[in-house]
């Protein structure tokens, strides 16, 4: 392997207001290496890479590329130096084709030689073993294909340093493997690949060296061969963490929720959920797996009365919820906490403080016209203490809290309402390891109280450990409901990609 240092970041410090996101970070990346940047949310990974890609200017420190000190004033300068970043959220124009997206923003001739362009892109794709149709429109693409376009886009611009920000979050296990193949090819070509992630198994699988960040500081840089998952966790969190989730055995079999043949359509009359049937018992955690956008959100909203049911039925304790208002459903003891990608879209009011956000589910129980905030203030203070929410005070707007703390406020409020059925979607999205395990414990606590839980999750490992059963959704259809203790990750991945459970079990090659 080529041991030449390609990128060197020295003493990078970057702060936002009073928050120091990066503090004196040193990082060196070699040619022909896959370097993982590991750290919990808010540890400064993205900030550091945004510095390297010219989006942020560091307060102090220097960037040395290929032996030359550089100063980026804009992303264009960084692209010129051969640095390309693939962001967590794709930045593609949906209505354009792959090749149009690839050349977008490029200086070039006024006229575009379509044929030559297709050839060029085809050649580049073949070199990396990528399978892509340059003329396919982005809106017709799967998530994996979109990511391929993003990667091609930066490579077409001549990037030799590729930064991938949490690239596997939206992929199925199979798509992840494909991505890893691409990364390995790039390593062979002598490129430097930096992957930002907080998934430890991926780090162990793909990277050559690992730099761990914690609270804005680079804690250590290690060779993969010389470390293990436990050591990495400890470095990341700052203390040893027990990584096992206990599964409580569920004795009761009393059904509380029964969904039958549920079909939902969106504004364009496209079916987003098709013939979905399942049931959920008291004291059971039913996991829902699926690639993002497979109908999970709509399913949650339909149960909570926020999404109009097209056909089918939802029965809660024997009574149909179809046509009931959200208010009536809340009163029956159904609670939903949906953590959207931006965390604030639903469930919390960003500009309001913790007290007023607790009020959201509580105010209708107050008598008369007026609102009494006093008991809620006490409740808020208890919540802050119990869940260790970091805030300057309960009267501080929640949008100024960090993501993890915002989530604690939301989940804390929902659990506080003593629900019988808890719908929780992505409750640990963006949380650090310690906080995630607190949340799993909280869910298990609810389970022990005979609360039925519908758990929409991203991390298959967690789903398999925490849940009793897992239901897999693909394009709005159920591809299988399986016993979480018996299923394998590969089987789940295939189901997420649309292969039905019967097929997997039937074809001996998979079983």
């Amino acid at each position: 392997m080529n041991r030449q240092t390609y990128i060197q970041l020295q003493n990078i410090t970057k702060s936002f207001g009073t928050v120091v996101a990066n503090s004196k970070i040193d990082l060196s990346v070699h040619k022909g290496e896959i370097h993982a940047l590991l750290g919990e949310n808010g540890s400064g990974k993205s900030t550091l890479m945004n510095v390297l890609s010219g989006i942020y200017t560091p307060d102090s420190g220097s960037i040395i590329i290929d032996g030359r000190e550089v100063c980026f004033k804009s992303p264009a300068d960084s692209i010129a130096m051969g640095i390309g970043m693939v962001h967590q959220h794709f930045k593609l124009v949906e209505v354009l084709s792959a090749k149009e997206n690839i050349i977008i923003g490029q200086k070039g001739n006024f006229f575009i030689n379509q044929k030559r362009l297709s050839e060029q892109i085809g050649k580049l794709a073949r070199k990396l073993g990528l399978d892509i149709d340059p003329d396919k429109k982005v809106y017709n693409m799967s998530v994996g294909e979109k990511q391929t376009v993003e990667i091609l886009k930066v490579l077409y611009r001549g990037a030799e340093i590729l930064i991938l920000d949490e690239p596997t979050a939206v992929l199925t296990p199979q798509e992840t493997q494909k991505l890893f193949d691409i990364m390995r090819k790039m390593r062979e070509m002598g490129c430097a690949v930096i992957i930002i992630t907080h998934k430890l198994n991926e780090v162990m699988e793909i990277s050559d060296r690992i730099t761990v960040l914690r609270k804005g500081e680079a804690v250590a840089t290690l060779d993969k061969s010389a470390t293990n998952i436990n050591e990495l966790t400890e470095l990341m969190v700052g203390r040893p963490v027990d990584l096992s989730i206990k599964r409580l055995e569920n004795q009761k079999k009393e059904t509380i929720l029964k969904v039958s043949n549920l079909t939902l359509v969106d504004d364009d009359n496209v079916k987003v959920l098709q013939n979905v049937s399942f049931d959920l018992s008291k004291g059971e955690i039913l996991g829902v797996a699926g690639v993002a956008g497979s109908g999970q959100k709509e399913l949650c909203e339909a149960i909570a009365g926020l999404y109009e049911v097209y056909s089918g039925d939802i029965r809660y304790e024997g009574e149909s919820l179809v046509g009931k208002t959200p208010r009536e459903i809340i009163k029956k003891g159904v609670s939903m906490s949906f953590i959207p990608e931006d965390r604030l879209g639903m469930g919390l009011v960003a500009s309001m403080d913790i007290v007023d956000n607790l009020l959201l589910k509580d105010y209708q129980n107050h008598k008369g016209f007026l609102i009494d905030r006093k008991p809620l203030k006490e409740k808020a203070e208890q919540l802050v203490k119990r869940l260790d929410i970091k805030t300057p005070g309960v009267n501080h707007p929640v949008k100024q809290l960090s993501g993890g703390n915002i989530q604690k406020v939301l989940l804390g409020r929902e659990l506080d309402s003593n629900p019988h059925l808890l719908i929780t979607a992505y409750p640990v999205r963006g949380l650090d390891i310690g906080a995630s395990y607190t949340i799993y414990d909280l869910l298990n606590e609810q389970k022990a109280k005979d609360v039925a839980i519908l758990y929409i999750g991203e991390d298959l490992d967690v789903l398999m450990e925490l849940c009793d059963r897992i239901m897999v959704l693909c394009n709005g259809e159920i591809t299988g409901i399986v016993d979480a203790a018996k299923v394998t990750k590969e089987e789940l991945g295939l189901m997420m990609a649309g292969v039905c459970l019967e097929k997997i079990k039937g074809g001996s090659s998979y079983a």
Binding site: F16, T57, C71, P326, M336, A350, M352, L360
Partner: protein
Amino acid sequence: MLRISKRTDLTKKQYIQLRLAAVIMALFTSGIFILIMGQNPAAIYFAMLQGAFGSFYGLRETIIMTIPLVITSLGISTAFKMKFWNIGAEGQIYMGAFAASYFALNHHDMPKPFLLLVMAAASIAGGGLWALIPGFFKARFGTNETLFTLMMNYIAIKWITYLQYGPWKDPNAKGFPIIAAFKETAILPGFMGIHIGLIIALALVALMHIFMYHTKKGYEISVIGESENTARYAGMNVKKIIVAAILLSGGLCGLAGMIQASGVHGTLSVDVSGGIGYTAIITTWLGQLSPALIMLVSFLFAALVQGGSYIQTVFQIPQAAASILQGMILFFVLGSEFFIQYKINFKKEGI
């Protein structure tokens, strides 16, 4: 290098400093303009203060001008809180005044307190319904309320013009296109030349403060303004709340119209509002949708206008020049909004 970023950490002290700096810069810049006109800036500023507060007459005029501004701003703030950009206060004022005038002109034989109450109720209904039309279309078809409410203003103004020149023209006015003056029973009572609208305005400020910050409905309106999805999620009946809030918004503006017609002009005319509905948008915004601040800002704004008209007569400067002074002061105060929202970082080249 210049970089602009959003502020999150503004203290009260910095806030006041920024606002003060804006006023000082406005006075300085306007001073240059006054010097060019050949006048002494200090004298002009002093005269403006004197015009607004220096005499009983001046103070009274300032207060009378403050009253409709406060009430209209309170109305607008209800809609703005919900992110319903009601630019139609002007039209709602006219329609409120129109509804009140109908009773004033046709039923003036009712007992005075009763008639005034009927007029107030009619004006609230008139303004409220006028605001509800764009509200309905927004809720039903997603039309743009900013344009819609603005267009409704022109319809309202032309409707009053039509009444004034047509069916409601006073036959005893020797051909002048005016509507007959209200009878005594339809005129708001007053004290030392200030009509009772002052009490109404003060009461409304207190009521709206309680409504916005301490009632369920007020809370619901704030939540909807932040995110309709969140409101739905919390089990609110979003459409119903929106309709109620728009009715309240237009209703308050309509009430301001009745107060102007009955307390100030003594009749309905196309001059009943004279732009209050637009000015109130500025005072609402500067008052940050907070009833107490709105009251303060409205008073200062009225003083600015009153002072401006005073210097016209005393220094014999044209009305346009006085308007320029008002405009400049507004420009700086509104401009300081940018520095309150964002901060500018200067950075040396090369690190």
